[in-house]
Symmetry: C2
Subunit: 292 residues, 2 copies
Amino acid sequence: MGKASLDCEHTLSLAIREATGQGCPPLLAKALDYAVFPGGARVRPRLCLAVALANGNSEPRLASAAATAIELLHCASLVHDDLPCFDDAIERRGKPSLHAAFGQRIAVLSGDALIVAAFQQLAQLGSSVTHPVRMAQVTAIVAAGVGGPMGICAGQAWECEPRVDLEHYHQAKTGALFVAATCAGAAAAGVPVEPWRELGNSIGEAYQVADDIQDAIADTATIGKPTGIDVALDRPSAVRELGLQGAVKRLERCIEKGLDSIPACKGRALLHDVVQQQSNRFFPQGIKHTAA
Amino acid sequence: MGKASLDCEHTLSLAIREATGQGCPPLLAKALDYAVFPGGARVRPRLCLAVALANGNSEPRLASAAATAIELLHCASLVHDDLPCFDDAIERRGKPSLHAAFGQRIAVLSGDALIVAAFQQLAQLGSSVTHPVRMAQVTAIVAAGVGGPMGICAGQAWECEPRVDLEHYHQAKTGALFVAATCAGAAAAGVPVEPWRELGNSIGEAYQVADDIQDAIADTATIGKPTGIDVALDRPSAVRELGLQGAVKRLERCIEKGLDSIPACKGRALLHDVVQQQSNRFFPQGIKHTAA
């Protein structure tokens, strides 16, 4: 996981170097770098690479490109979600949000350019992968995690509806990109994709619940972004629905469900440990929980 | 060209049906359809298909997916360019702009979802294409036309700079997607791409100059979007630089340069006629010009 994480920073930095190469307007170039570095926990690309590794990782450049693409898409979604017309967040990862630092126009364009850069990472593998058909499959999986009808764009769009379908909302807004991470990792390694859906789904739900808990109890200084947003924007949240202890219980159950769902594979034991370790970091400091 | 155009409407409608399928939030679904239909002249996808046809079109599904992707990306750029933080345009294609009809949030998300849908069109061909490596090449060409450092996002980002590099600005803002159209058409047909760059470049420049002329002389009712924007936003424009007659001359020269650049290929004569016919429609009614 240490190695996987290092790879991820390296490939992300190559991707941004390409997207901001010769001819790029200087402000856009600065903003693209700002949107991706320094990063958060890189949970999704780590999960993608961990699944590929657990399955033998027979096409490592493809797994790496998929992980990079998924993180770029996540960064794009943060930039657009922070915009004044959505969360109007002035802080992200402990620094001014992108539109606060560069203006709304550059923020809109940075999100767009990051989405394109994500697909470029996959496409440019070109003839260097042994299995070009896998590349198409991975790209389709990643796209499904982001676009309509049920990717993260659709998830965000549920916030614009007078009535929210809660299940679709959560699954699309957060779950879809986690599902893309596990399924793309499996597809890159050439194993059947469907058995890996539940791991992404459960860890995605756990992540969403953890985010709801943090929004309810943490302060801005601790997590580097504004808190109390769910109540302020009257958004559905596990804490509002179940109370704090109820939400913590749901978080525990989601992680357990995810761990149990890991299909039989060569590296199952290691993957189980890695997911468990990562997921334990979802619990905010000071929250009592049964170690999963 | 009639056939190509029909194909293009059909594949666009399939793409939107997929992106707005089961589970899609209703407003987003309506907005995605609204952004693409009814369309404009579909100049870019027609050009892409015409180049593929002139070169034998040996992978027709790929050429068709490329054309569809390019038009979806063009529609995405219109939605985002119309936003209040950019052109603040309340009209587009003779009806309210997307954000005027659906709000800014749905407009941002629709642009994002259309970008993703574009790449999904290419990826989902998967194993159904005979040459999967060509698919990767086409995808990379399309991505380069849209993202950083020199795609249309970068072109739009030049508007945020205190000093504009005019050449980069025009080439990226308009030219890049036309270059993507001709080069993707060539790549889909399996012929070398570079000789086709100049056709895209010249027709893209012609299109930009024609747009500048329309912005300067037409009224909103005729072209279905606000006019006089270049002066109002103090934007560079061929008419401001060269005067009206000078701009018309440049438009003629660009088209001529494009036509002359068409490489030797089986369908060169027909392609020449098609491009000439299409380009003549760039001249606003009542403008005298030497028929190219």
